[in-house]
């Protein structure tokens, strides 16, 4: 009898276990079904931006811009002088826009944080500017420049915008030459060209190693002429701290001015305009260490974002492959070595791990390693493009070699850029002519002679493809608020080709905005100049003052820079070259912690109503923290690798970026939902009509 009961008991136990398992499985299946349903609902309810909303003209690609210009509304000359336009920023985009708008007859107010418009960060760009002139007769054309740019952007840019960029590129070169920009010339007296990463044609125009400076000086001269004539009112050492929106007769809010802080006196001032244009540059300094100038910041972008402009693709940050490696913890900025060096320099690391170790220990130098023991890894992996692969490809390749232990300096984070072949092939004089000033700069900083020993380089944050979303007219989602140059997101997709930043800044400022802003202003001619005593201006000023007072009152224990450095390290480690879901989630947690630390423990000396660089830095850092978090959130949601955004989980067996075109061929636009609230995602699908998406192949 006992045996029977035992068997029954055992059977009941087993039955219970099985039932529990089955029930659990049922719960699992139900949960999975719920998740899937939630995804479907999320997809269905994620707001979409259509081509109509983005104001993309209909018709064939090569006629869109012409059709736009033929049919747009204009402002007649007599009315132009009754309209005020604020331009924030005096880089390539800002200065060219301010000068062009003033030439046309608008009343321009131009602001910059530097002491002179000529000290905008564009001045530091070295390499060159692309245009589809085809002077070299090597097969270039507007279409090819368009194609190279959209492919280089990993097919994540808007076709219409990129085509327009290629279309006006030739006008830019003509304009600069007319301004007296001293581009390099060949012996016959015609303009010289060189090749840049991502292209198989020689389409880059340059002025020694200071193309950015010379282009900026051209725009600065044009701007100076207008200032001298009284057509532009120039406000140097002024920092925009907020935008003022005023509702029109239909209740729709429009940008009608800014609140700006005089950086010398600390005074907060109000400025009115019929439209506001922002060309404030990129947000690379979120990483603290970048190739940007120390004052470069993303605060203007954040102000636009908080007022309703969308922040698009923030995770697309470009890492430049050829920067001078970091040499210490105190370091406050990194030095860019122009990409043009990759024209003639060859990149390598030792083939043998022991050689790498000896280099790292300082026992041997680069020139001591024989030719056969050198791994020219870019030439090996990408025969068709060799050392001229696009920046993201070159940067990841350098990281890959260094991660495996083949780095060549004391930190193990450097690779060689070697000119010995070029010196042998062209002679030292020719190399000196082409790159002399860059070599000089390198030697000054590193104390090594690049003519005798290979240069050391390592990737660093350089440019941000992401930025404020704009439509085809360069207008944000806020009426009357325009965004130009690096500050906007539009033309480079997920990766910017070398020598095209300068092209985009000047395209926007000289040849696009002056047209499109007229379309907006044409029905504003009846709007009188508003008084800055309006409550909207007073409220905006008060909000700015409150924020400053709050920051000054904290009086904590940490300097602004110390917190900024910490943010930078988190960004580099978790939101840098190789991102993972785990890493990004960890990064977001750490950024949230930094935010708390900043708002409770930052110390700002001095007074707010005086020249106070620490306060300026604190205001900018508050925004860098927000941008950093937004970058991480965007990177986490984008489950693919493309261009400057590399998710370790999405790579080919050879370690190349693996796009998920079926799921992510869209612009990820983020909408501000309030302080400490998660931003909302809006998608602009990129349904290509004219271009086929291929795998970016630089091997053949």
């Amino acid at each position: 009898m006992a045996k029977k009961e035992e068997i029954m008991e055992a059977a009941k136990e087993t039955a219970k276990k099985v039932a529990t398992k089955v029930a659990q499985k049922a719960v699992d299946v139900a949960e999975a079904a719920l998740d899937a349903a939630a995804e479907v609902v999320k997809e269905a309810t994620t707001p979409i931006i259509t081509p109509e909303m983005a104001k993309i003209p209909a018709g064939p690609l090569e006629l869109k811009w012409t059709n736009y210009k033929n049919h747009q509304k204009l402002v007649n000359p007599a009315n132009k002088r009754r309209l005020d336009v604020i331009v924030v920023g005096t880089g390539l985009a800002g200065a060219s826009a301010a000068a062009s708008l003033a030439e046309m007859g608008f009343n321009v107010l131009n602001f910059c944080i530097q002491d002179s418009p000529r000290r905008a960060h564009s001045i530091a760009a070295q390499g060159g500017i692309n245009a589809a002139k085809n002077y070299q007769n090597d097969g270039d054309s507007v279409y090819r420049l368009y194609y190279d740019t959209i492919k280089g952007g990993d097919y994540r840019a808007r076709e219409a915008n990129v085509y327009r960029l290629a279309e006006v590129s030739n006008n830019i070169i003509d304009q600069c030459v007319a301004q007296g920009v001293p581009f390099a010339r060949e012996y016959g007296g015609l303009l010289d060209n060189r090749s840049f990463g991502g292209a198989q044609v020689s389409r880059t125009f340059y002025a020694k190693g200071q193309t950015g400076q010379q282009l900026l000086l051209g725009a600065y001269s044009a701007l100076s002429r207008q200032i001298g004539k009284g057509k532009v009112k120039m406000y140097t050492r002024y920092e925009m701290l907020d935008i003022v929106l005023v509702a029109d007769e239909n209740g729709e809010k429009r940008a009608r001015g800014i609140i700006a802080r005089n950086l010398v006196t600390g005074r907060i001032e109000r400025f009115f305009a019929h439209a506001v244009v922002v060309g404030s540059g990129g947000y690379g300094n979120t990483f603290f260490l970048s190739t940007n100038a120390m004052a470069s910041n993303g605060s203007a972008a954040m102000q636009m974002y908080r007022h309703g402009a969308l922040f698009a693709n923030p995770c697309y940050a470009q890492i430049h492959p050829t920067c001078i490696p970091k040499h210490g913890d105190f370091q406050s900025k990194l030095t860019l070595m122009s990409e043009s060096l990759r024209n003639d320099g060859r990149i390598w690391v030792p083939k043998k791990l022991e050689d790498a170790k000896r280099l790292q220990a300082g026992e041997i130098k680069g020139r001591d390693i024989p030719e056969e023991d050198r791994d020219y890894y870019l030439e090996r992996r990408y025969p068709a493009f060799g050392n001229l692969v696009p920046r993201d490809v070159a940067s990841r390749a350098a990281k890959e070699r260094c991660d495996k232990g083949y780095g060549v300096n004391n930190t193990g984070l450097a690779v060689f850029l070697d000119f010995s072949d070029a010196i042998q092939r062209l002679g030292k004089d020719v190399v000196a002519q082409k790159y002399g000033n860059l070599f000089q700069m390198y030697e000054k900083i590193v104390d090594e002679n690049p003519y005798e020993n290979p240069m050391m380089i390592f990737p660093a944050i350089h440019y941000t493809m992401g930025g404020i979303w704009v439509d085809y007219e360069l207008q944000t989602t806020v009426k009357g608020l325009f965004c130009i140059g690096e500050a906007n997101f539009s033309d480079h997709g997920a990766n910017r080709l070398g020598a095209s930043a300068l092209m985009q800044g000047l395209a926007d400022g000289y040849f696009v905005l002056p047209y499109t802003i007229q379309n907006y202003l044409s029905d504003q001619i009846g709007v009188p100049r508003m008084s800055t005593d309006l409550p909207e201006f007073a409220e905006a000023e008060k909000a700015v003052q409150d924020k400053i007072d709050k920051l000054m009152a904290i009086q904590g224990k940490r300097s602004v820079d110390s917190i900024h450095k910490e943010l930078g390290l988190i960004m580099w480690d978790f939101v840098g070259m190789g991102r993972t879901a785990e890493g990004l989630k960890e990064g977001i947690k750490k950024i949230d912690a930094i935010k708390k630390e900043f708002w409770t423990n930052v110390y700002i000396p001095g007074e707010a109503n005086s020249l106070n660089n620490e306060l300026e830095k604190a205001l900018r850092l508050a925004d860098f923290i927000e941008i950093g978090r937004l970058m991480a959130v965007d990177a986490l949601h984008r489950e693919e690798s493309c261009g400057g955004h590399f998710r370790e989980e999405y790579q080919t067996p050879e370690g190349e970026a693996l796009r998920q075109d079926d799921k992510f061929a869209y612009v990820g636009c983020w909408k501000y939902m309030g302080e400490d609230a998660e931003p909302q995602l809006i998608k602009e699908p990129l349904d290509y009509e004219f271009t086929e998406r291929k795998t970016r192949n630089y091997k053949n």
């Binding site: 002077y135 030459v177 007319a178 301004q179 200032i227």
Partner: protein, 160 residues
């Protein structure tokens, strides 16, 4: 910092020049340089409607020399180094760059006059050919530019 040895005292002070008043500590107001540029440091051309970039060939040596003159970054070291506080190197660099190029040649005389007049008006001193400016210039702008400016200026005055 490789130029300095252990135990050294390094003295750091702002540019000392009448035309660059101190704002705070090491920060000075170099707006005078911008004002000189506004008086003539440009080619009078509007955006758009310009000839093709290769329409006017420029001999390579001329283009290179214009490039050297164009390297000036407007830092102010020249005026600060000069015992007279003269801005001739800065002014001559821009005048030279534009005078050398066909696009700038058209207005070269007027430009030289206007920029020199502005320079004088703003309180910069006179040039007595000391050469301290070129010695300090971080971009190696050459004294030859001052010679060229003098020629342009004289010929402009002569034509008046």
């Amino acid at each position: 910092m490789r130029k300095f040895k252990d135990g050294e005292t390094i003295t750091v002070e702002p540019w000392r020049s009448r035309a660059f008043p101190v704002i705070k500590d090491l920060m000075v107001d170099r707006g005078a340089y911008d004002k000189i540029m506004q008086a003539g440091g440009f080619v009078s051309v509007n955006t758009g409607g310009v000839p093709d970039a290769n329409a006017i060939p420029i001999p390579k040596p001329v283009a290179d020399e214009a490039m050297d003159a164009a390297s000036c970054i407007g830092c102010g070291a020249c005026a600060a180094a000069c015992k007279n506080g003269s801005a001739m190197l800065f002014v001559s660099a821009k005048v030279s760059q534009l005078a050398l190029l066909p696009q700038g040649k058209i207005e070269a005389a007027a430009r030289a006059k206007a920029m020199v007049a502005k320079m004088d008006e703003l309180g910069f001193g006179n040039c007595t050919n000391t050469g301290a400016c070129a010695a300090e210039c971080p971009k190696s702008v050459s004294l030859a530019n001052i010679a060229r400016l003098n020629r342009e200026f004289l010929s402009a005055k002569f034509k008046d």
